[in-house]
């Protein structure tokens, strides 16, 4: 006698529970707490950091996270970060500090053992410079100035060397105020100091050939327009920032990540005004 009543009561209770839980499940998803990622910078001025921040903000918008920008001193006060990106001259101390706090770290602009990094593709840049040089002048009149003043220059040197050696191009290690062969019509430089040196020589008219080099800084577009440099390998801080935040996000989620390399543009007077290159050649413009 009681069995049917018990079965019915059970079914009604189950239906009520299902209705309660079901409408919660079918309703809107409760908002998740927004995680915060920090960018610690060495300087908050300049087009590089501006584009770096823009790229990171784009990534933050896509990932649904918040981006906060700190100076080094501010970063020590930061709390509750899900991940961090460091763009510092000497990032190791800060990186270790954050690592000790369990905050995943991504390094921008240089490599640091034990940490994931995002860099411009220096080897690609070196190779592009070398190949462009070969397309512009007789290889007999090309000089490659190698330099290992920094990690990027060293990488560019290695890549350019590989091409230069295969083509029997003259290779010289850069030294300030060094002399150049008389028949030199085109100089390939792989470090900023060498590039600026050659630009100065062109301005001084102590060198009248073509100069291919790396990013000269905020005057890059003018240098190209003036013709004191004929081709410039430019990093994309926007892409670097974008990749860096994704890298930090992956680390925070437990993914295994490796170093990322952003595409490098070889800007010339022919392509410097194109819309696809404007962000790198005229970073303050767009």
């Amino acid at each position: 006698m009681k069995k049917p009543i018990m079965i019915s009561a059970f079914c009604i209770a189950l239906a009520a529970a299902l209705l309660f839980w079901g409408f919660r499940w079918s309703g809107s998803i409760p908002p998740q707490e927004e995680k915060t990622y920090g960018l610690t910078i060495q300087s908050d001025t300049g087009s590089y950091v501006m584009q770096l921040r823009k790229g990171m903000q784009q990534a933050a918008d896509e990932l649904g996270v918040r981006l906060e920008v700190y100076t080094q001193s501010e970063a020590r006060q930061a709390d509750g970060l899900a991940g961090a990106v460091l763009w510092l001259e000497q990032p190791s101390a800060e990186a270790e500090r954050l690592k000790s706090l369990g905050i995943p770290v991504s390094i921008v602009g240089q490599t640091l053992p034990g940490f994931a990094c995002v860099l411009g593709d220096a080897e690609s840049a070196g190779k592009q410079l070398a190949l462009y040089a070969l397309s512009q002048a007789d290889k007999a009149h090309i000089v490659l100035l190698t330099d290992d003043v920094d990690e990027g220059a060293a990488a560019r040197s290695r890549a350019a060397l590989a091409v230069a050696k295969a083509e029997n191009v003259a290779i010289l290690g850069y030294l300030p105020d060094m002399g150049l062969p008389e028949n030199c019509d085109l100089v390939v430089t792989v470090s900023q100091r060498a590039t600026l040196d050659m630009i100065q020589r062109k301005r001084n008219q102590t060198f009248k050939g073509m100069v291919l080099g790396v990013d000269t800084g905020e005057s890059r577009s003018y240098d190209l327009e003036e013709g004191v440099i004929d081709a410039m390998a430019l990093d994309s801080p926007y892409a670097i920032g974008y990749l860096a935040l994704y890298q930090a996000y992956g680390l925070a989620n437990g993914d295994s990540v490796s170093n990322d390399y952003a595409k490098v543009l070889l800007a010339t007077r022919e392509n410097m005004y194109l819309s696809e290159n404007v962000k790198q050649v005229f970073p303050l413009l767009h």
Binding site: M1, P4, I5, I7, S8, A9, C11, I12, L14, A15, L18, L19, G22, F23, W25, S26, G27, G55, Q58, S221, E225, S236, Y238, A239, Y242, L243, A262, K263, M272, Y273, L274, S275, E276, N277, V278, K279, V281, F282, L285, H286
Partner: protein, 583 residues
Amino acid sequence: MNQGTPMRKRGYSLHNVILIAFLACMGILLLFVLFTLVPRVNQLLEQNAVERTRETVLQSTSTLDVYVNSMISVMNFVSQPLTRGDAASEDTLRLERLNLMQQSRTDIVTLAFFNGDGSLRYGTGGKLRTEPEEIRKRQWFQNALSWQGTSISFSRPHVQELFSDQRSYVITLARGLEYEENGERTLGVLLMDVNYSTLSDMMNGISLGSSGYVYLLDEQDRLLVHPRLDLINQGLAEESIAAVHEKIVGVTRDRQNGRDRILMISTVGQTRWRLVGVAYADELLALQDAFIRILTVVFSCAGLLSLAAATLMAFWVTRPITHLEHKMQKVQTGDLNVTITEKGFREIRSVSAAFNHMLAQIRSLMDKVVEEQETKRLHELNALQAQINPHFLYNTLDSIVWMEERGRSREAITMVLALAKLFRISISKGRRFITVEEELEHVRNYLIIQKMRFKEKFTYEITRQPEALCEHTVKLIIQPLVENCINHAIDEASGEELHIVIDVSVTEAELIFTVTDDGIGISEERLPSILTTSVGESGIGLKNVNERIQLTYGPQYGLSIQSVEDEGTTITVRIPRGWEESK
């Protein structure tokens, strides 16, 4: 009643049939709703979502159209003075007009007018840093000249570097203008640089759902504006335009990065640009998903509630039937004192009432049978008792002694023999039924004894049909009738001799015994109660005989008495033929 184990249950349970039938009906109804309502609602939701998105895209296109038209209007406005009058004399005024227009609008970067040879006539950009030959090579210049003012050339986004003090990221509008100089009509080019950020901000502010967006393609299907244009240029993102490439305007679909997309394409007037709205199907149809989830929950609840309702209904409907079944099973085991409570549905009440009535009738019938059996037993017991009734025995034995004392031994012996035969047939080894011949022998011996006692008081004769002799009858039915005649028919007052005739005849179906006398008869008043009169001397009354006959053969048989006072009485006994002991 067959007492024993309850009837074995066979067939389907009514409870389960009702339960299954109810669930089946609910299931069919739910499935009907599911297959008719859900696809239609889904379709309507999808149509609604797509339509709303399409409207957003069209609205965006309209906004862009308005903007482009406003730019064209500006160009028309600034070009009008040039086409009227002598060009050179009013250049200053025209430049002022250009400056006024450029300063009044933040989206206009530069306004300039070039001669047909590429030299700058006047403009708001300052000093020109590009040689006229270089300007003549520019695509916008060539387009403007070749189209001769019939159409406006819209460039791709680029950095404008024509002027020394200016680097802007712009879209260049250029239009050929015919003007008069020194009396001759010639063609120049009006240039207007519009800030790219105005257009990109306008486009990138439009969202379709949480992930959807719009982008702009030029006439060669190259991206002009896209929310991820920088990433696409860096090779970090991609935008598939294959589906858009195949369709000029309208709605199409594709799939990118594992997500289905709905693409709505419209054209921007005057420019040959196309605006593409990208909406993600999973976002557009989120409401559909929510509807499906809600429907799943509701249908599941409906199923559970149906099960609950079906269980309760089956229980409610079958409970009185089950109650009825249990009671019937008790009856089947022999308990006839069961009473079923008349409750529940009308039909169940009716069945319960009928069953109670049937049980009452059975009980009554059984009581009646028991009573009849008891009566029969009593009558037989009485009849048996009558066989050894002491009065008749005393009187007969007295008669024998008297005869013997008087030396009438032969008569004594005759009486003794008759008595012995009488008692022998009475007992009949315990049989209830004897042959008619035996019954007649019984009454004959009785009459011998009574004749010897009552001598001249009566005479008798016995007649019968020969075929009746071998028939069977319940014993001791004629002798009581004869005894009744002797006891009541003799007219003591007149002293006339009573004549008794005993006859046995048969019909096709019956045996008929008649005992007729010519005695004093029975008054009409007394006749009805004869069959209830108490026992006679022999101990067996007419009532006993009649009741025994009816108990044995049925109420349609028994005694009937016809009598006329002072003339005589006939008692007729009718019993069926062919009735034997086994029955």
